[in-house]
């Protein structure tokens, strides 16, 4: 096997910090030597996982540089719980970068809509894009200090809204709708977050005729286009694999089953 051919690497854990909010983890792996675009993802599987959890886990690339490959993730189940326990020096199989990315239009306003850990891919985006035409609206449940929000807000115009009550959620939706409407015909939104949020984004994009890109989080077994497990349904009724044709899709193309 030609090793220069394979983008499947065994990277070392450089740090794994569950922070003060233990459900949010900042994981840094040794530099993979990849170039990569915001919105692309990697598949991750520690070498010592055995076979109880057969699948790797998909995560957006939060950032990648000479300092390493950074992943920002939330503990939601067995796999992320195990990943949160990674120790420096442990080895992790990683392949990628996979899938399609967010496409910025530098000549028009680009508004990031991030929800919770959906903020991850935008760390790299904010660091790399030199345009003034980029801003962010961030919805979050936990205290802002637990997210890499400041890193982004230092570079681009950002606003954060915390959602703890139903009233907060309704308020966020109102702001979302307003921002999306404002961009109609003159800009686009880039959205990443939980599915209910994506449904709201899609509804207002269609309602106001605003262009947008959304990143889907479908269950994935392989990440490389082989299992056909990760498919989303298009508005024309076909199934498309989100690992190769996504995870970032045009908001108009995907049927989120609303």
């Amino acid at each position: 096997m030609n090793t220069t051919q394979t983008p499947c690497r065994e990277l070392q854990v450089l740090s794994c910090r569950p922070g003060t909010e233990p459900t949010l983890v900042d994981l840094v792996l040794s530099p993979p030597g990849w170039t990569c675009r915001a919105g692309q993802f990697v598949m991750i599987r520690p070498l010592d996982w055995g076979s109880e959890l057969v699948w790797p886990r998909p995560f957006s690339v939060c950032d990648v540089s000479d300092a390493g490959l950074r992943i920002f993730f939330q503990v939601v189940g067995r796999g992320t719980r195990k990943l949160a326990g990674l120790q420096p020096g442990q080895k992790v199989a990683v392949w990628g970068p996979l899938g399609r990315w967010f496409r910025i239009d530098e000549n028009r306003p680009n508004l990031i809509l991030a929800g919770g850990v959906g903020i991850a891919p935008f760390v790299m985006l904010a660091r790399r894009e030199k345009t003034d035409n980029l801003s962010m609206l961030f919805g979050h449940r936990l205290d802002l200090c637990h997210y890499p929000y400041a890193e982004i807000a230092d570079r681009i115009e950002s606003e954060a809204m915390r959602q703890t009550t139903a009233a907060d959620i309704a308020a966020f939706e109102t702001v979302l709708s307003g921002r999306i409407k404002t961009l109609s015909g003159i800009g686009q939104v880039l959205a990443c977050g939980p599915e209910p949020m994506l449904k709201v984004v899609r509804r207002y994009c269609l309602m106001h005729g605003t262009e947008g890109q959304i990143s889907l989080e479908n269950r994935m077994a392989c990440g490389v286009g082989a299992c056909l497990g990760c498919v989303g349904r298009t508005v024309t009724g076909e199934y498309v694999q989100s690992c190769v044709h996504g995870p970032v899709f045009d908001v108009r193309d995907i049927d989120l089953g609303e």
Binding site: M1, N2, Q5, T6, P7, C8, R45, S51, E52, L53, V54, W55, P56, A93, W95, N218, R219, A221, C222, G223, V224, G225, A226, C227, L228, G229, V231, G232, R233, G237, E238, Y239, V244
Partner: protein, 302 residues
């Protein structure tokens, strides 16, 4: 050690074949290794017409395994021949996996692939619901298994025909014999075990299709037992699979009597696994002093 495996008229470079539905059309894995280094690739199941597959969610993780109910989504044979086949590197040994809902359609498909020089053999997936007889599967009824096998065999020309058996049966040797008597040149097993996974909070199945097929290490003991039974019941080569994730596992299947193996779920665990496995099998076999597969195969002691 010479890794070659002889399956009737078909020679494989080594015993590691990637299983249908878990390795796409091979193309998806070209970034991760050299396709021509594999024993063979069983292509994703292909039907006459394109199939959109089942609603989502289609997959669920289970202890040491997974369930899938993909529903044989595929581009159909025409598009496969036009848009996929030409891009698979020359020198890759390809086995087409045939899926149809009637023996006649199976025959049609076989005839199409019989004319394809690039295709080395046909694998017949008889573990699919027979719509005409209300949910019984071809692979669960010896008479139907025989009918499908001979329909394929008649139109397969010189291509060896491998019939893929379902484990969801009382006695797998009955189906195995029926397929061999109907002309199967070899058998492959096991396909997935029918299973379910549910979410106690949403009160829904984790699969839109409710039921799916179980694969992965969890099923290995069942697979080994069935391969062992079948290799003793028939004279044709048997290709074993079900839960293989290491070189040791490969040798276990050969030890109980398999000529070669297929690896499925393992390809999802890491996309270069099949390529690495070829090397690991070689190393392990040599460390055990095995000089040829013929020497080791089926030597399980009583």
């Amino acid at each position: 050690m010479d890794q070659t495996v002889q399956l009737g008229p078909l020679t494989l470079k080594n015993p590691v074949i990637t299983a249908s539905g878990t390795f796409g059309y091979g193309l998806e894995f070209m970034r991760y290794g050299d396709l021509t280094a594999l024993g063979a690739i069983c292509l994703k199941g292909i039907s006459l017409a394109p199939r959109e597959g089942n609603p989502t969610p289609r997959i669920a993780e289970t202890p040491c395994g997974m369930l899938n109910a993909i529903g044989l989504q595929n581009v159909g044979v025409k598009k496969f021949l036009a848009e996929k086949l030409p891009y698979i590197p020359p020198g890759t040994t390809l086995i087409a996996n045939l899926y149809a809902q009637t023996p006649e359609d199976f025959g049609e498909l076989a005839a199409i692939f019989a004319a394809q020089e690039r295709v080395a053999a046909l694998e017949v997936n008889i573990s699919c619901p027979n719509v005409r007889e209300g949910g019984v599967q071809f692979g669960q009824d010896p008479a139907m298994a025989a009918r499908v096998t001979s329909a394929v065999k008649k139109r397969a020309g010189s291509k060896p025909v491998m019939v893929k058996l379902s484990p969801n049966v009382t006695d797998v040797t009955v189906i195995a014999r029926a397929a061999v008597d109907a002309g199967a040149d070899m058998l492959s097993l096991i396909n997935t075990l029918s299973g379910m996974s549910v979410d106690i909070r949403t009160r829904r199945s984790r699969l839109a299709n409710i039921v799916g097929g179980l694969s992965g290490p969890a099923v290995k003991p069942v697979a080994l037992r069935m391969v062992h039974q079948v290799t003793r019941a028939v004279q044709v080569p048997v290709i074993g699979m079900g839960g293989i994730t290491s070189a040791e596992d490969v040798l276990e299947f050969i030890l109980v009597g398999a000529h070669a193996v297929q690896v499925g779920t393992f390809n999802f665990m890491r996309p270069d696994n099949a390529f690495r496995l070829v090397e690991e099998v070689r190393t392990l076999a040599e460390s055990l002093g095995i000089s040829s597969w013929d020497e080791y195969r089926g030597t399980l002691r009583a």
